[in-house]
Symmetry: C2
């Protein structure tokens, strides 16, 4: 896994450097840009070529980099050769390689050539597209590709510009949620008055992403008015509309004002899918805003056979997914559509003198600064446009289906091995599995895990709890053992008390051979861990 010392630059480039630098000292000199740009392209291409040599999960210790870098910035310039050498020697070891084909953690951060090139172009133009006039192409391309993508997802026309809704690119789902929540909050406060902010209540499930709780906190929703509907294994951890209605009813009876429901298509722990139609029906009865967070799973709804997962979205007010997760755009690129853009702009508009211009006054243009938290914004639509055009709808569907197919292969391995079990049904390209309780208990029938546990309470009332704890502990050991090896990287979750391993396929470079090898790694580590349990019968 050594990475030091195997990085070299062509000598010819190094010679060019000296000549080039002497001729023009401007930090944006086109020829020097060309020379250094080519070097970094080669650096990154080589990185991808060699990426399997590195441990997927960085194995450095906290504070490693401080020991390697100076304590202050250099006074004099350093060459790009020196800097890239340091990137290779000191930065790469501290990277967890999200682009590795052996990366199966969290959700993917799917890069692509097209996404990368789009980001390069955006960075090269380096425009600050806060309003239409500051760079009309940045605004107009965004509106166009958001309609393209909305059509691909078969979103109701009311979400598209062509149907008086509209789409906007945000950085992350966190921002999308906060923007829509603030819009919903103010929609209600305009009616009941700002003094009643303390009465507003928001709703989600215990599987909703933590981003929502943070957004509610930021937006000044009273923490006591943040409602979490419990979910269970029996419904695969999806939100129960009836439980939602009961909670809302109680709140209304208590004089509170329900304003916002966050429904999820593809939860972070298990990719559970909340039933959008019935949930929207409940919310509608109380005039609430419904946001659908499909951060991970939204992408694959461009495939007709997966589109049903967002059935019912027509009842929602807004919908978002992260193109940087599983749609090849590189971080960051969250696609948000709203039915009523004026709800956003009423909360988020600014109109200082120094930004006044005739295009805005004509009301013929979109000023995206009023659709998001920040003023400044990058030209993100370029990368989405390049992804859509470079691959086309057909290939994009093919890429996503190939990830699902690989996840199915992995699922097949798990199901065929009686030491393992799939914990919840697989919806997309993420398999939630664990070493099964029976495999653990066969080894340790009295609930004692020998060397690898401190638990030794086998008295009757706590046996069940202890057993669950044992099984979880074994699975946690499995995950840590696998990730510590560096060969593959997975992450975990705990749902309904069950510790599970998540095998999320979606890294762009992953092929079936990687999945097969990953399963071998899982088996080897599981074998060692199960064998370390002393048989106590």
């Amino acid at each position: 896994m050594g990475s030091v010392g195997d990085f070299e630059f062509p000598q010819s480039n190094a010679l060019l450097n000296i000549a080039g630098r002497a001729s023009n000292d401007n930090p944006l000199d086109p020829e020097e840009f060309r020379r250094q740009g080519h070097m970094v392209i080669d650096f990154i291409a080589d990185y991808y070529k060699n990426i399997e040599k590195y441990p997927v999960l960085s194995q450095v210790e906290p504070g490693y980099l401080k020991k390697r870098l100076p304590t202050s910035a250099p006074f004099y310039p350093e060459s790009i050769e020196t800097i890239l050498g340091d990137v290779q020697d000191h930065i790469v070891p501290g990277i967890t390689h999200w682009q590795s084909p052996n990366y199966f953690a969290y959700f993917p951060s799917s890069g692509s050539i097209a996404g990368f090139l789009g980001e390069m172009l955006a960075t090269g133009f380096n425009v600050v597209g806060f309003n239409w006039m500051s760079s009309p192409a940045a605004t107009e391309l965004e509106s166009i590709v958001m309609d393209w993508l909305g059509q691909m997802l078969r979103l109701p026309k009311s979400f598209l510009f062509s149907g008086n809704g509209g789409g906007v690119l945000q950085g992350t789902t966190c921002e999308a949620i906060l923007c829509t929540l603030v819009a919903a909050r103010d929609r209600t406060l305009r009616i009941i008055g700002n003094d009643n902010i303390g009465k507003l209540v928001v709703y989600c499930s215990d599987q909703t992403h933590c981003a929502f709780k943070k957004a509610a906190q930021i937006a000044g929703i009273n923490p006591n008015n943040f409602r979490v509907i419990p979910t269970t294994l029996s419904t695969s951890f999806s939100m129960c509309p009836k439980a939602l209605r009961n909670t809302i009813t109680a709140d209304v009876e208590a004089g509170l004002v329900p304003i916002f429901l966050l429904a999820t298509v593809g939860t972070t722990s298990t990719t559970a899918v909340d039933p959008l139609g019935p949930l929207c029906d409940v919310a509608k009865d109380y005039g609430m805003w419904v946001h659908v967070d499909a951060a991970y799973a939204g992408s694959i709804c461009i495939c007709p056979e997966f589109r049903h997962f967002i059935d019912g979205v027509e009842g929602a007010d807004s919908f978002s997914f992260n193109a940087h997760k599983w749609f090849f755009t590189t971080l960051d690129c969250c696609c948000l559509w709203v039915k009523d853009p004026s709800a956003l702009t009423q909360s988020l508009s600014t109109d200082p003198e120094y930004l006044k211009n005739k295009a805005t006054e004509s009301k013929q243009v979109v000023d995206y600064k009023d659709w998001q938290l920040a003023l400044s914004r990058r030209f993100r639509s370029l990368k989405l446009w390049l992804v859509l055009r470079s691959y086309g709808v057909e290939k994009l569907r093919g890429f996503l289906r190939s990830h699902v197919k690989m996840a199915k292969v992995f699922q097949g391995f798990v199901e065929a091995d009686n030491r393992f079990e799939v914990v919840v049904p697989r919806n997309f390209a993420n398999v939630c599995f664990r070493i099964s309780p029976s495999a653990v208990m066969n080894k340790s029938s009295n609930g004692v895990l020998g060397e690898i546990t401190n638990s030794n309470d086998i008295s009757s009332p706590r046996t069940k709890i202890t057993k669950m704890g044992l099984v979880n502990e074994v699975n946690q050991k499995l995950m840590e053992s696998i990730n510590g090896s560096g060969g593959i990287y997975m992450t975990h979750s705990v749902v309904g008390g069950i510790y599970l391993l998540r095998f999320a396929v979606g890294a762009t470079l992953t092929q079936e051979s990687h999945v097969i090898e990953a399963w071998n790694v899982v088996k080897q580590h599981a074998h060692a861990i199960l064998n370390s349990i002393p048989t106590t019968q």
Copy 2:
């Protein structure tokens, strides 16, 4: 200014394409990445080489792009050659060229080779650095460079990690303000209870960036409790500590709770500087949080002779500036330092099961997700690190000083021409000027502007107002005339009723020859406009 048709690709690359694409279809294939990456580097290098050919301010009409692009995404892939051809033909005309050496609008969006390369590396690695473990290098490099930069600015040690404060890279100042405001809000609410959110009051001046009003709106501060201290020309539009104290006193007497002051070093309209020391003294008496927004001017405080502009920062709680404005990192990169990181993390932390890890539990690491609004974050510190190393402290100071020097040259031109006047003293590299009232009135002594105005009320009580309106109208015409020509681009503001033109030097490619030529453009257009005023005496 034609841009269509002068963009060609080497034929050899086009041939390689067909071979390359057939061999490997993976969207992150290293060799195809290399081939296409080199093409885009050349595209951008050529763009910089030819950038002066384009009108700086895009001259397209609203809706131009919709007429040129298809109504839906392509079903089949398109080649990078086709796409880049379309970028040249359809996107470039809709771009306002922030990187042009003839760009003097708003504030600069200063690109550089090093900043670009850092963004490329970050996009290439494409890690999602929400916590330490997700890529230790991303977190540790950020902490290190923020301490480097803090030292360069001679920030008090209490703002640095080495002094138990710390720095974090946000996307924009808007985010930095919102984060610190929420921290301040919650610090108070933890004492007085969430039910009292309606009593909280925040303070700024009439020159404060609109981002603050938006942040207060998002954070749920009652709009009635947003205090704006008026400024005047007599103090160059800086905030008056006495007026602040009087306002706060009145609020406290009314039972309200002051929590936050936003002070600015380098306001957007005129680069005014609020007196940090005296303002912090006032705020301290009321236990308020003070954030210093030096979005534009912070950069140049790395030069000893400019450091005095942030004297008094030691009394503040947080300080931020945008490295993407005038520090060569490309958008987006806002540097924020806080004295008490725990105030941020108490408001912004999340701790879901799926992100739990031993490094976090050890409390030996920073998890930057808890220092910002969003969970996901890009590896922004790479570009800041590359800028600091590629240029070094000495050259960076030199670049910034050269911009100030060019602004002084322009100021000299304005002052030497009695048709013009400098409106407020120049602090940095932005000159606020206009055609002087006397030059207008010499042409139109009775306040009638002939063909170029509709105003014809010359009755006595309104003469002064009318004259002011006339002068403003002439200057607005001047700006629109200049920008419509495409030769250079400037923007305006209105302060104390005065319409002024802003000449902001800072685009990386700008040289003194561009400033000289810009002045010629200004003179020509002013000459034409002044001559179009019929002499009525």
